[in-house]
Structures are given as structure tokens and as C-alpha cells.
């Protein structure tokens, strides 16, 4: 029997009797990262990287959490479990499982480009690699992130020159902080939506340096002697769910944009009806996926959520033993961001409103 299999409750390791990122309540859940499609409510014990714990607690409330650092080996029923950087968001980890000389790695979500906020993805040699495939088509090839941040800054300068606010929608956990760490903070004040500001605090506590941010209601934004506030130089970072909501009214004249890997394709950009779309993702692009898979040296590849079929077939044609693995990932928050195609096939994102 395989060391890790997909069950109706999640990925399961029978030898060690634990689940990885289960989508239903289980006794012992190993968590790769705190996005809500990977970390769901109801399990008895959660095991995750130290930096994931505070976020998990914020999202799931008072649950039982055991933590580990990167590389630290936990042993259970003779099975070794360890966390290794996945480069996706703060605390995100690949889970390495070793039993009787056989090594499996479950990637969770990952990206290979270093984002300067979370520890860089670390390739691990293994016999079997369970990989995501969110952007598993060759059209997804990210520009170097410096270029994307430069275009975001340029967009913002245009807005400042025109006297309007810049509203940038980005997923509250991970993407938002990555943006904050890289945009030009000298251009003007940075205002964050409450959902983003809450995660910022956790990042700062974990030692990540972010520029000063404030809430929309912060008195420093007020114009002296008036009831109005001035956001004309501000960058406002908000989750995509705030798009087209009344919360935006306070910002007066603004230009809006979304930072998401799906913005690579014009159709997705135009469907959103926003002024701009920046292709920036915390998931690996196609070259990233292929490089990561090759680096593991694994002879068996199990492909989860995303363009599963396309990536599986491509790997098989290259002579690897690749199979699709059905999971329930990629249909929760990531979709809110517009970052997950419909389950198990090469379509476009279904993008329900977040």
C-alpha cells in the first residue's frame, strides 16, 4: 500500500496514523499552511510549522496545536515527519514523511521564486512527490517579480498624479504582505483593510519587516479641520471580497487593480471589470512546477488541485509515473482570489464571489 493515500477525509498516512490537510475532521491533522482550504475546522490536534500556528489560531479559534520548526523531525509509530519551506506564505511547508527507507513529500501549495517574505522553497529528494498544479499550463510563466512590482508602482504614480487613490485587491494572507514588502512605501501612506491588517500583525510578530500601515479609519488620514479624509496618495490593500462593496465608497476617486496569477490571461482580467490586473502569484508557474518536480528525483508524482490532467499527462509522456490525486483543495479562499481552476481539469477558474 502507498505510504500516503487520498481518502474521503483527506490525504492519509496509515503507517503514522495522521492526515495531511484534511478536508473533514480527523484525530491528527498535519497542516502545510493556514489558507482555509488546507486548514479546516474540526480536527482534534493540528500539527504545523511554528509560524503557521498564530494564523491558525486566528482562523480556527482555540484549537489544540503542536508546532515544529523547519527540518525538525517528529516521530510517530516509527514514521518520521518534518516540515520544509514551501515558499508559499509565512509558515508554509512541504511535509516530508519517511517510513522504512521510503520518502514521500506532500508539497501543499508552493512557489519556487523567493518572495523575500517567507523562507524560500527547498527542493527535497524523495521517492514520491505530491504536487499541486494550480498553474499547470505552459502559458503560466511569471515575469520576474521585480518587474511586476515596478508596474504596480508605475500604476500608483499615475494615480497619484491624477489625484486618485490606488486600491489593490490581494489575498489577505500572503499576497498582501508580499506586496507590502515590495511596493515603494515612499510614494504615500499605505492603508489596509481590517482583514489584511490582522494578518500583518501576525507577520510582524513573526519578525517579518513590513512598511508602516494603517486602517482606513486611522485619524492620520483625516484632513485637518474637515470631516473628509484624503486618500489621493494612498495605496489601499484589501481582499478581493471587498471589490464592489460599500467599504470602497470612502476612498473617493480611485483606480482599482487585482494581483493574482489568473491576471496572466486577458479574458480573466477583463471579466473582473477592474482597471488593472497584475499577474502575481504565490503558486509556482509552469517552469517552476516542472523544475520542482525534477529536483525531487522522484519516480512517482501525484498531482493534486489545478490543471491536474494536463500536468499528469505531460509528466507521463516524459516517462514519469504520474497520477492524478483527487483532493478538495483549491475551492475555498484561493478561489475567492480567483486562483483555482475547476476541479480536476484544464478549464478556467470558476471564481465564485469571495
Amino acid at each position: 500500500m502507498d505510504l500516503i493515500v487520498s481518502t474521503d477525509r483527506g490525504l492519509y498516512c496509515a503507517a503514522g496514523d495522521f492526515h495531511i490537510d484534511p478536508w473533514r475532521p480527523v484525530p491528527r491533522a498535519i497542516i502545510t499552511h493556514a489558507h482555509s482550504d488546507h486548514a479546516r475546522f474540526g480536527s482534534e490536534v493540528y500539527v504545523c510549522h511554528r509560524d503557521t500556528a498564530p494564523i491558525l489560531r486566528k482562523r480556527l479559534g482555540d484549537v489544540t496545536i503542536e508546532t515544529a520548526t523547519y527540518g525538525q523531525i517528529l516521530t510517530r509509530n516509527g514514521v518520521e515527519i518534518s516540515f520544509h519551506p514551501a515558499g508559499h506564505v509565512l509558515g508554509s511547508a512541504q511535509v516530508r514523511v519517511v517510513s522504512k527507507g521510503e520518502t514521500w513529500v506532500a508539497s501543499g501549495d508552493y512557489k519556487v521564486e523567493s518572495d523575500g517574505v517567507s523562507p524560500t522553497f527547498e527542493p527535497l529528494r524523495c521517492h514520491a512527490f505530491i504536487t499541486e498544479s494550480t498553474f499547470g499550463l505552459p502559458i503560466y510563466r511569471w515575469r520576474p517579480q521585480a518587474e511586476t512590482f515596478a508596474s504596480i508602482d508605475a500604476w500608483r504614480r499615475e494615480n497619484i498624479a491624477a489625484g486618485r487613490a490606488s486600491i489593490l485587491f490581494a489575498y489577505a494572507l500572503g499576497k498582501a504582505q508580499r506586496l507590502l514588502a515590495h511596493v515603494d512605501a515612499e510614494l504615500g501612506p499605505i492603508v489596509c483593510h481590517g482583514a489584511v491588517e490582522a494578518i500583518n500583525a501576525l507577520y510582524r510578530e513573526a519578525g517579518v519587516v513590513l512598511p508602516p500601515t494603517r486602517l482606513a479609519t486611522d485619524p492620520r488620514t483625516a484632513i485637518r479641520g474637515e470631516h473628509k479624509r484624503d486618500f489621493s496618495r494612498a495605496l489601499i490593500v484589501a481582499p478581493p471580497s471587498a471589490a464592489a462593496s460599500p467599504w470602497l465608497k470612502r476612498f473617493g476617486d480611485y483606480s482599482d487593480a487585482l494581483a493574482s496569477g489568473w491576471m496572466q490571461v486577458r479574458g480573466n482580467r477583463r471579466r473582473r471589470g477592474l482597471d488593472r490586473g497584475f499577474a502575481l502569484s504565490d503558486h509556482a508557474d509552469w517552469p517552476g512546477l516542472i523544475a520542482a518536480i525534477e529536483a525531487t528525483g522522484a519516480e512517482r508524482i501525484l498531482v493534486t488541485h489545478g490543471y491536474t490532467e494536463a500536468l499528469t499527462r505531460y509528466l507521463r509522456e516524459k516517462g514519469l509515473d504520474a497520477r492524478a490525486l483527487t483532493t478538495a483543495y483549491g475551492d475555498d479562499e484561493d478561489v475567492g482570489e480567483g486562483e483555482a481552476p475547476a476541479e480536476g481539469e484544464g478549464g478556467a477558474p470558476t471564481e465564485p464571489e469571495a
Binding site: P138, G267, G273, P352
Partner: protein
Amino acid sequence: MKAFAALYRRLDSGTSTRAKQAAMVEFFAAAKADPTQWASAAWTVYFLSGGKPRQTAPSRLLWRLAVEGSGYPEWLCAECYGAVGDVAEMLSLLLPEGMGGEEVSLDVWMRERLLPLPSLAEEERYARLKQWVEELATDERLAFFKLITGELRVGVSRLQVVKALAEVASVDEGRMAQRLIGYSQARRIPTAADFEALIGEVLRAEAQALDAGKPYPFYLAQSWSRPIAEMLPALGPPSNWIIEWKYDGIRAQLLKRGENWRLWSRGEELISDAYPDLEPLARALPSGTAIDGELVVLIPPEHEFATDSLDGLAIFASLQQRLGRKIVSEKTKRELPVAFIAYDILESEGRDLRTEPQHVRRALLEGLIERLFAEAKMRGERLPIRISPTVSADTWEELAEKREQARALTREGLMLKARDGAYGIGRRKGGDRTDVWWKWKLDPMSVDAVVIYAERGHGRRSGVYTDYTFAVWSAGEEAGARELVPFAKAYSGLSDKEIREMDAIVRRTTLETYGPVRSLTPTQVFELGFEGIAPSKRHKSGVAVRFPRMLRWRRDKPIAEADTLDALKALLAGGGR
């Protein structure tokens, strides 16, 4: 090419109208200042205003480039195409990074490179394409492939192009719109002189426009779809309006300048040759006249008739039989004679009348047609022209009742034109303005139908299942065995949110995939509206509907309760066209 590609990227990068406007103004102003750029700028205007050269490389060469250039198997390229929905964009995302070479102007790209491409042998064409792609910078690729596939829509309307050019040339929008007419005709090769004529001195450009027999830009109506109760407060009493029927014909402008006459369609195509029936009318018109109206098939009665008599008006299907024919036989002219229903006059004795109030223009038009009729009668001739009759009533409610007769009269509804309004340009977004033209169409016919197939859309709907085939039941629920009979395809009427929901449902309920089409387990019912219905031998259902679109998602309705073919066919008898 770099400047054009940069403009294309700017226009394409977002949805903000003001940003697009600024980008165009900047581009044209820079071009204006540098005569060496005029030819390329002329091409830019051509593309942005809807011009389409023929495709210079066939799809199979582009696909070969995708497969050989990327090194990926064909099926994977097809997957990519599915996610992108556009060959040009797929290629620009799929091919390896470009190096960027010498700058070649858009004009040279078009005239010396792309347009001659079709005359070369296949291998030579492929070799050139391959080499060009390597020489282009990555960020020039999308615009380049778009030049080849000829689909350069970047979400700018013609009116926006007119505005930008008008600003750069410092002329009013009306003049610019007129200068642009005919500019984007197929197979045209724009030149530096064309751009100069657009942005150059007024007199010269106008003289050219008149010589060319160009029409005035058409004034288009907005849809009035608010309830009757809101008409009085928003529009005032009906007496403020000139009210006419809305015809189901071809909108056209008839021009007579000197001895020459021309008939222009709303799509700015010159269609005089297809309607030689109008020759006697054109001969009778005084020089310096432009009239706006509708082409219809009208079989004149034997007896005497008034200038506004529509006796003998045929259904649209009759006119359809004349569309697309280059040579019109005597038989066709006899059996399907066309006439011009005039409803506006834009030029008289060479004078532009567009700023005159609607009622003044109407009076002039009536006078002209009375005179033409009288003169023709003396010659023993009957002219194929009528004046569009007016419809009057004291209240909007009374008008609404009259509007109901439209379907039986083979008309689409009513037109409301402000008595004091000028003749504008294009379609104005009026809001509460009262000087616009409103079309007040009949409510569409509708049935509740079931979605049974879905296809992916294109453009901003690319990659998402947005085009659906609808079916009704072959018999009522009481019949034991019955099946769903497809009768229409529709893709409009849903919000973006609803599209995303439907896309998810399509993926979840797919039975089989045939190329781009998926057959579905029927689960969803929509109220499908359409403008007309006619018997059809081509369709399995035996009917063909016009302009089908989704009016409402009937989430409340189980598929068993969708309408039947009999219910659909009953609409045929009820005044369908």
C-alpha cells in the same frame, strides 16, 4: 511597431475609459508631430476603428508555430488555447522569450511583410513567421499576432477613437466622425495622406470628404426599457416627441451630390449597387441632399397612395432574401422591390441641417417628399420612397396600447424623437437627457427552456462556458416518453457572477465532450426571450427564433416544467414573424 505595441498594451491593460482615452491622445499627438510616423499612425487608426485586413497567415501555420516554437505537444497547446480562448494571445504566452531586434515601423510591417505573406509558398511563409517572432521583443508579440489574426479589438469604441482624434486635431467630434467614415473598410491600405487628412487642416479634409460622397455619422437610438409610469416624469408628455414606428429593415443613408448618388449602410458599407431599385428615386432627388431612413421590401399597391402609406410592407425575411446578393436580377426587383422609408433629412441644398430641431427637419423632409411625389406623378412615375408615418396619442398609456399592434404590423415597436433635438453622433449615453432618440421596443416573446449543451466563449468570456444551447420538451409532462428538442443558442443576458456560477455547473454536469462542446445532464431552466419566430425547415425543432437571449435564470423551476414545442409553436400563430 514598438509604439503601436506599447499603445496596444496600454489599451489592453485595463478597463478604465479615461486611461484609454489618454493613451490614444498621447499616441496620436506624438504621431502628429512627426510626419515619418503618419503612415503607421494611419494603420493604427484603421485597426482601432475596426479595420480588419484579411488573415495573412492561416491558423494551421500559427498552430505549427505554437507546437514547434514552444516544443510542447499539440494536445498541451490545445489545452492552453482552451484556457486562453485566443490564438494570438496563446502564442504570445507560450513561445520562448524574444530577443528584440531592429525597430520596423507598423507601416512597413503591414505593407512589406504581412500583406505580401499570402502570395508566398507555405514553407517560406512559415520560415519568415518563425524568424520574425524571434526578432520581436516579448512584449511586442501579442500586438504582432493580433495583426495576423486581424482581431484587434481592445475595448475602445469607435466613438472613443473619434474623440481622441478630434482632440488631437482640434476639430469637433462630428467632423472627425465624418472624416473617419469608410476609413476602416476591408482591404483598404491606409497611407500617410489619410492620417494627414484626419488631423490636418479642416478645409482640405472636408473637401475630400465631400468628394468621396461620404455620409454623416448615423445617430443611434437608446433603448427605453423603464416602466410606462416613469415616462411622463422623465420624458414629459408625448407631445414633446415625434413618434414613429420602428421598422425591421436596413438602416441606410441616401446621398445625392452632383449627379452621383450613394447608399450607405449603418455599418458604413457602400451598398448602392445592391439596390438599383432606388435609381429613379435618386435621379429625382435634388443635388446636395442626404436622407436617413430604413430600407424595406415594399410591394406598392395598384391604387393611389399617400406619401406615408406603408401598404405592401413585407416581412424582414423578404429583405433577407436580397441581402448579400451582388447582382440583382429583374425578377428579384419585380418580386422583392425595395423602398426607402425616410425619417430624417441631414442635408438640403448642400447645407448641413443636423443642428436644426427634429421638427424642422421633419417638416423639410415632408415638403421634399410631397414635391417628389407631385413631380413623379406628372411624369407618370411612382417613386420607391415614403415618409415614416407618425403615431400620436395624448398619453403614454394610449401609446403603449398602440405599440402592441407593432407585431401584427411586422414592426419592432416605436421610436421616440425629441421634437427639439438635434441629429447627434453615434449612441449617446443619455441618462435622463431628453434630446435623444429612444427605441421603445415590444417586450420579447419568451419561453422557459433547458440548457443542454455549452461551449466556451471568446474575448472577455474566453475559457468560460458562456454559450448555451436551449431546448424545449417534445411533449407535455403527461406524455410518457418525451425528449428535449434544441431550438436556439444564446450567450447574452447573464451577469459575470451568473456566468461564473453557470460555468461551474457546466463542468459539474458534463456528460460528454465533443471538441469545444459539452453535452450536459439537463438541470438548468432559463426564460429565453427572442424578437421573432418563423417556421424553419433547417432546424429539427421546425422553428427559428431571432435574437435569442437569456432574460431570467429560473432557478425555481425544475426542468420537467420547462415549456413544450407546442407552446413555442403557438407563438408562430400569435403574430410571430
